[in-house]
Symmetry: C2
Subunit: 427 residues, 2 copies
């Protein structure tokens, strides 16, 4: 689908969406959100995204950064972005805070795409991804990210060493210029109870953006010595608004995209999403400097990034006979591959009923995600390549690679990778 049209042809409008308290929504998707911008199909948009883990190290990731300071501002008297999550504003379930942290990602948007209607497909070309450098002069030229080994991680109830359980924050450093292609660990600390500005005690990492008081934690420097983590900048969350509920937790991914957490969704990648609400309502967040397949401990290197995207509407009646025919899930195209995303439940919001948003966390399974990825790849091969079911199944067994996308987002993920070179039809 990546035709040869240039990324910045004459006449294309290039928008900028900075991250401010007014341009972000925190921890939820909603079909009812007022768009922060309206664009035409083909327009370019540069979008600032902030990691919701920036307050794990205020000095490195917030201090001096006007946008980040404003979004994270939270004093006894003022909390610039109050709702954080899809839960109740009065925090009547757990008392964690507005929105209850049922959803954690700071998302920039939504952007209304003119002409995008239910049944259409939105193509999202990721033209560029840049780290957001530290605004603190002490860290000039560097960017930072936080990796939280948290209570929702796959490891949490399966630790070897004391104290058990525990949460650990590791701060990583990367080169803000992007020239150095690896990250290194700077230090780590154990989470200890933090009292937020409104007086709520957070014994665990149960609410996003809680200011971490570094006088209470012990920083251990000199960790992971000599180890270079390859940088794979990407967006954990790219979503269109789902239609099933008014407020949707950003954590479980689904047919609408969201928190897929596939590190392949970086510069040069093209994503395709089914549009289910007018204008699509496109949002981006959860920026990552790097992640391994599985995102084992619950997070990646959570690092603010700025991306440049081109948004292109494919109308419903143009899809037949293309790889987008019948698309009802998030599809990734890279130069060499098609990557299909399966989940424990393809559409948990519809499949799990009224309690879907809590039930999904009790029903996480790679087995279901493998099943979904298999079915999607079979359909893709049959629909877009005209293979019979028997041809598709044989080809999947001998040439398609299935991998673990993530085991930490409720609706666990398995992706299936189809190499385009299989179809190089040299006779």
């Amino acid at each position: 689908m990546s035709n040869e049209r240039g990324a910045t042809p004459g006449g294309t409008t290039h928008h900028l969406v900075p991250a401010t308290p007014e341009t972000v929504h925190w921890g939820y998707f909603s079909r009812s959100l007022k768009p922060v911008l309206s664009v035409h199909s083909g327009d370019l948009v540069t979008i600032e995204t902030l990691t919701h883990h920036a307050y794990d190290d205020h000095e490195r990731m917030i201090a001096g950064d006007r946008g980040a300071e404003a979004v994270f501002l939270w004093t006894r008297d003022k909390k610039n972005v109050d709702r954080r999550g899809a839960g109740p504003l009065d925090a009547s379930i757990h008392g964690r805070g507005a929105g209850e942290g049922f959803g954690v990602h700071i998302c920039t948007g939504p952007i209304f795409v003119e002409g995008a209607e239910p049944g259409d497909v939105l193509e999202v070309r990721i033209l560029d991804v840049k780290p957001r450098g530290s605004a603190n002069p002490a860290f000039s030229g560097l960017a930072f990210g936080s990796n939280a080994a948290a209570w929702w991680g796959f490891h949490y109830n399966d630790l070897l060493t004391e104290p058990k359980p525990r949460e650990v924050i590791t701060i990583y450093e990367i080169d803000a210029s992007g020239e150095r292609n690896w990250a290194r660990a700077v230090y780590h600390y154990r989470w200890v109870p933090q009292i937020d500005p409104f007086g709520v005690v957070h014994k665990t990492i149960d609410y996003p953006g809680v200011p971490v008081d570094h006088s209470l934690v012990t920083e251990n420097h000199g960790i992971l010595k000599g180890i270079r983590v390859p940088v794979r900048p990407h967006f954990g969350v790219i979503a269109l608004a789902p239609k099933e509920a008014e407020f949707v937790d950003t954590i479980p991914p689904g047919y609408f995209g969201g928190n897929i957490d596939d590190w392949r969704i970086g510069k040069g990648a093209v994503m395709y999403y089914p549009v289910v609400v007018p204008g699509g309502l496109f949002s981006v967040g959860d920026p990552h400097a790097s992640q391994g397949d599985s995102e084992l401990c619950g997070t990646a290197i959570e690092c603010s990034l700025t991306g440049t995207f081109q948004l292109i509407v494919h109308k419903r009646d143009t899809l037949a006979g293309t790889p987008l025919a019948g698309l009802d899930y998030p599809l990734l195209e890279t130069g060499d591959e098609w990557v299909l995303h399966g989940f424990s439940f393809a559409n948990y919001l519809a499949e799990l009923g009224d309690k879907a948003q809590s039930e999904i966390f009790a029903k996480s399974s790679l087995d279901g995600a493998m099943r979904d990825a298999f079915r999607k790849m079979r359909r893709f091969l049959m629909t877009t390549r005209g293979l019979s079911e028997d041809e598709a199944i044989s080809l999947m067994s001998v040439a398609v690679d299935f991998g673990v996308t993530q085991v930490v987002d409720g609706n666990w993920g398995v992706h299936a990778i189809l190499k385009k070179a299989l179809f190089d039809e040299r006779k």
Copy 2:
């Protein structure tokens, strides 16, 4: 562990083990098998392996091939290799045939490695892998493999099109010289009931090596047109003998290796296995021309191969401080990576009790395999790199990739890939 010692230093003995009825055991591992060869640590061994699917196309994969003809010989009066599987010789459970097909792979060996004792580690260097060309002059220069979409496949009870269910054999062709690096499909056919030479009817593919009567099946040619499957020659099964039972089904992999079905176990790879019986009792089988991660439909391109291996014993008291310290599972090293193999049950033979060999098929799960792969990688990083648990867990989340090895072998597999470049300690 790959030191610089040449593969063929002076003084090293190079053995050849052809595949004959006398040098293979079919469908089972056993600590009690008489070795077909005894070698010294460091010796080279060229080993012929036969795919147990060769009779899916006798003309292309058996005819004219003395070794294959002898191993597969089965007439009303004579069955050269009677036992096929770990089941009873009198087939008193299902009546399928001797060994009941509880285990299907033709394994060449076992080879006794002098000086290998319980507690040691056997290093297996795969120096070369070559396809076994068709011996039929009509197919000169070609080699063939069979892909069976079978009743044990992940897809089998989840088919879209009629007739349901069904089994389908697809025959693939590769270049026997190895110059062309892709396979293509030749034709496929649906399995129809086959009567074996002893008169047993096989409605499904329930016993290995049943002669397929091509007058009963319909060959569909011209399938998967123009599609080139990248060749990844490798051995699905490399095993040392397990100690827990007298006869062990070759299908579920485990701590002893066996049917791991990881396509990375090909030329240039180095495998490490814990030795648990005297001499190790090394066997190789289940040769594959190619496979995708998951081996979705139940098989790869099952294609006879000949491998050249170097076998090196690492004594128990030399392991401390090396990547082999405490090794109790099959570990893969390539030039760039360490690949650790997790299973639904790390040692199903010990964990599942007396009925382990049947229970394991009822307890297949990727979730368990992911858990096992996580634990193994954590231990590997802590033991061999001296990382703390917190360092190991963070690194796994940001830099280790977990993938689906197979979902068809009872004891399902997830592998974890650790890039050696992480540890390039340039300061």
